[in-house]
Symmetry: C2
Subunit: 344 residues, 2 copies
């Protein structure tokens, strides 16, 4: 049903010149029609449109980019699409960019060694992009000490303060405080913390804010347990936490680790929320169906994506960046994994 492949080797599609010839006009007129300029006679426009359809003409974006000095494309650097947050943010970025007429160039970093990151940035220089959004945790970036190609606009989605680049992220501080105070309000004497990896600024912020909240309320600050965001690490930390019967409330730095923690508690015969209350962070889809359904801090990734695209586009057009970090607020979703401590 398809076929129609001319045996010749030419694969290039029709160009403006071809359309122009068929419609009996100049290339410039075709260009005007293609770009919806209004100063074209209606009858001429129709004729050109018809010729375009007949030939299946598509403007050549390389030529356009070359001519205009602008690609209308944004590079997004990511490392593994395993984490829920990264994935969601990427989705939001892609949608926001599309709406604004930009396309997305996905640049995966194969591993987080210095050379791989440097490499990816190098590749990026040759990529057809007007600007870059960095979606990898910034500590890594810091350690690698790489500089991006100059003259490229950049926005970082993370919570580091150590950057020259504009920053957009969830308000980690507010989210962690929300979670911690919720547990305190329920009557828990203090709140334990299962944190993310020390290489993550986001994890760092959540940890500090949890600590500060406890201090502000005059509570004791228990030792921190660290995970790496994975459910497995949450399970492992949970096994250790479960041995301490002082623990009545835990704020976990993300939902996946919270899932591992829940499992560890079950295996030890501890009831949630009766024996231990648990709060997560992210509000991934599944959180509502954990057992019990997880109380957690909801991030609005859509907003993070939108804001970072807006910041980048502004930077691309102005040529300079505003350094004020953007912090997107969170919301506490209360489900059934939290309750007042048993008895009192």
């Amino acid at each position: 049903m398809s076929a129609e492949v001319s045996p010749g080797k030419r694969r290039r599609g029709p160009s403006m010149a071809d359309v122009a010839r068929l419609a009996g006009v100049s290339g410039q007129t075709v260009s005007r029609v293609a770009n919806d300029r209004h100063n074209v006679d209606a009858e001429t426009r129709d004729r050109v449109r018809a010729a375009m359809n007949q030939l299946g003409y598509r403007p050549n974006s390389a030529a356009r980019a070359l001519r205009n000095g602008e690609y209308r494309s944004i590079g997004v650097i990511v490392f593994e699409l395993h984490s829920f947050g990264t994935t969601r943010t990427l989705d939001a970025i892609a949608i926001a960019a599309t709406i604004r007429g930009y396309s997305i160039n996905l640049v995966p970093v194969l591993d987080v060694t210095q050379s791989a990151v440097t490499n990816a940035f190098g590749r990026l220089g040759e990529q057809a992009v007007d600007g870059v959004i960095i979606l990898i945790e910034a500590h890594t970036l810091d350690a690698a000490g790489v500089r991006l190609p100059e003259g490229l606009s950049v926005v970082v989605v993370d919570s580091s303060a150590h950057y020259d680049y504009p920053i957009v992220d969830t308000d980690q501080r507010q989210g962690a405080r929300l979670a911690t105070e919720h547990l305190l309000d329920l009557g828990h004497k203090t709140v334990w913390h299962l944190g993310g990896p020390p290489t993550s600024f986001a994890a760092d912020r959540r940890r500090r804010s949890w600590e500060q909240t406890l201090i502000d309320h005059g509570r004791e600050v228990p030792p921190v347990y660290d995970g790496d965001w994975s459910a497995t690490s949450g399970y492992e930390a949970g096994c250790r936490l479960a041995e301490d019967d002082q623990v009545t409330a835990v704020f976990v730095a993300n939902d996946q680790m919270a899932l591992g923690l829940l499992r560890a508690l079950y295996e030890r015969g501890l009831a949630v929320p009766d024996d231990v209350s648990v709060v997560g962070f992210d509000d991934m889809e599944e959180a509502a169906h954990f057992w019990p359904p997880l109380t957690t801090v909801r991030q609005t990734f859509t907003e993070v994506g939108r804001q970072s695209v807006d910041a980048l586009i502004a930077e691309i057009h102005s040529g300079e960046h505003h350094n004020a970090p953007v912090a997107v607020p969170t919301e506490l979703i209360i489900r059934r994994s939290t309750a007042p401590p048993r008895s009192v």
Copy 2:
């Protein structure tokens, strides 16, 4: 520490001509150095390299694409990065493409209405891509009845047989059989099925294969329950399933729905695996930490990604496609959500 922004308005980076001038050679020689041609004197090459570094020269990919008639870029059409499988496959595609020297152009479809899909495909025609991988469930595509711009190579990641395009996907048939036979082998009289949405070919394949397996073993085929891949839909179907005390074994079409099902069973006081055995599909990270840890069918997304990129690149270069579908095998991961039926 940065600054150095010339107040002039020109933003364009240095071109070959600039490098050539600085190094005292012709543009062509710079081109040869940039492309690692060997017929350049070592001393000259060093001089050119030095000039490149000094100026921060980056080849202009638009000009290169225009000149070569090739973008070295692959478009990937996706609809929402919510499902585990899509995300993982995208990641694998991005990595495989990068290794082969192609970049990834992510094209989100805003919703699955016909107009949105058509629209996305239209946009794609103007995109700087040599080929396209379609990562949305193909039924939708079918319904929309859109044709892609001609002359563009396409690979579909899904299990439809109704396409002119080459297809790469997990071997749904084999996976579903694996799951069903595992439950039968344990001694269950028959196996219930909680399927994915009827609009998905993948879900369809899994359902048919489950059914065929039961028939092959001479078992009764119970009515199917349908979900939409989400944990919530699994929960809802689970509530209905739990009322039928005939049910001792369920094969669920993905892990997320299995999670919802587990929750529903718990709430009804049914023990897994003692009262009901459950098998999922996907083997997402969290599956090992569900309660109980979920027996499931592992898909190797890496392989699906790699194969689809390879197929697409082959098609781009040959100009024609081989229509033999590629089916990537699965593996059954046995955990603790399955056991022989209680007593007998």
